[in-house]
Symmetry: C2
Subunit: 297 residues, 2 copies
């Protein structure tokens, strides 16, 4: 009998066919849509508890911070603004109260910083810590960015620097690019946009699939984080939560000259679907990449 490990998450999602974009767009008002997203963090999968870790309140606060910021990042990448969130928490009975409070304090801190009201939740007993945040945002119709809007010749950009997010612990204190995303959608005409959670190659693969397009990426243009061990990490590691987006070349040229609130790097261009995803190395040699995504099972 086939198990989930045999088919992998994406196979499963395709089979159940209810999950499309990371964030759902709900038509509710004339001039703006609602955005609705959720992100689940599980002890041992998304964060580790070492023997003494439950007592380390700052670490637990990082878990709460990340739980909220993942959803903020999702909504920001659609061109939207986060508004309300609910938190479901499964917590072990043996967990020190201070550790549990640390999680919620981290969540509150993130919510406060990004203008989100924590309006409710559900707590229950669980062997492992499970935190699930669901968030509602709003997006002006004209600001809505979808994965499917990349067009041939579009310039491809990423924000910040990529790689080493998990090993360095940066994934528990990252800053979702809400300010940058709002700046972009207000000043430019953005094509496709999403946040990088599964790694640049995997997430670019999602854009290319949704947009029926290919891409060419120049390795020497990749902004590599000081936390990365090697250049490849910027391509394949996940949990960076930087923005990945495309623009028509005329718009892209304007962005290159502009002063965004966070660094953005031009890394390549959208090309014909049949060319696939090409990566050009420092010796100008192109290799075709299989969209390699983070496997959840």
């Amino acid at each position: 009998m086939k198990t989930l490990r045999d088919i992998g998450e994406f196979g499963f999602i395709n089979r159940i066919a209810i999950v499309g974009d990371d964030t759902a767009v709900l038509k509710h008002k004339k001039d703006e849509h609602l955005l609705f997203t959720c992100d689940m963090l599980i002890e041992g999968v998304h964060f580790k508890l070492h023997s003494r870790a439950p007592l380390r309140v700052p670490y637990m606060a990082g878990v709460g911070w990340k739980a909220v910021c993942c959803s903020v990042s999702d909504i920001a990448a659609m061109g939207g603004v986060p508004k309300w969130a609910v938190i479901s928490a499964g917590l072990p009975s043996r967990l020190p109260v201070k550790a549990a409070e640390g999680i919620f304090a981290g969540a509150q801190k993130a919510a406060g910083k990004y203008g989100v009201s924590l309006v409710g939740g559900d707590t229950t007993r669980s062997d492992k810590i499970v935190i699930d945040v669901s968030m509602i945002g709003t997006v002006k119709k004209k600001h809505l960015c979808l994965r499917s809007e990349a067009k041939q010749e579009d310039f491809i950009f990423v924000s910040g620097a990529l790689g080493g997010a998990v090993k360095s612990g940066r994934h528990l204190r990252f800053e979702p690019r809400l300010k940058l995303a709002q700046w972009l959608v207000k000043k430019f005409k953005v094509g496709a946009m999403m946040d990088i959670s599964d790694g640049l190659a995997g997430d670019l693969g999602h854009i290319l699939k949704a947009s029926k397009a290919g891409a060419i990426i120049h390795e020497r243009l990749l902004p590599v984080s000081k936390d990365a061990r090697k250049r490849e990490d910027a391509l394949f590691e996940g949990e960076d939560f930087e923005l990945l987006f495309t623009m028509r070349p005329s718009e892209g040229k304007k962005l290159i000259k502009a002063k965004p609130p966070v660094k953005t790097s031009f890394i390549g261009q959208i090309i014909d679907e049949r060319a696939g995803l090409l990566v050009v190395d420092r010796k100008m040699r192109a290799r075709k990449l299989q969209a390699r995504a983070f496997t959840h099972f």
Copy 2:
């Protein structure tokens, strides 16, 4: 060091102070509000997996059904109509694909029946099955029912029959009282309303606390389910998901004569806060009850 078991869930919720009603009311439009709620189900806490259970697709479908119906019930009890949901699922790698599909099929079936669009989700690896559903509904301002609206002399009603929901397995196939709740808010002026998840005594305790009121309940008027082992189960067991609501006496008298789509039973009245929660037994003897709620830790 204090653990969560030492203080219990409600103590914890009071300490973190972000969680009020089960469902949040969000002001968004002139004539209607958004409702936002979440419910998390965890293997071993809310449902058991016996050795062969993962293969029993109907059982898994019941888990998916319940995950959606808990939130439908929350929104119905506020006088609202459910609209959109996202599902986060933590699933073990060793889980047969058919079992995982069963969960989502059950969720889809419930969503279809109650008019909910499943618009997204997040799946991740987990040792135990975790299903968290977040749901958005809408409620017309004039239909909104809060816990805090019970007034002295109000008649108290419950729908259906209570007790034995978990032991009988009824909690995995219950029908949220959406139709009844809509019928009530359209035809009557409802006072306080909520759904019974923690048990009648515990949930009535929530209404009394929020409304600063007391109540007198007549044991012989309680609608006891055939699944209950003893009359007390109707008072203290949880997971019935029936409606518990109050109305001014004049409205209550009209309801008693009316033909609701689901049976409703008059069980007692709201009294002064200082009297507490009184239960009158068959010998007309009253005892004062401590609001005994389901403990999650």
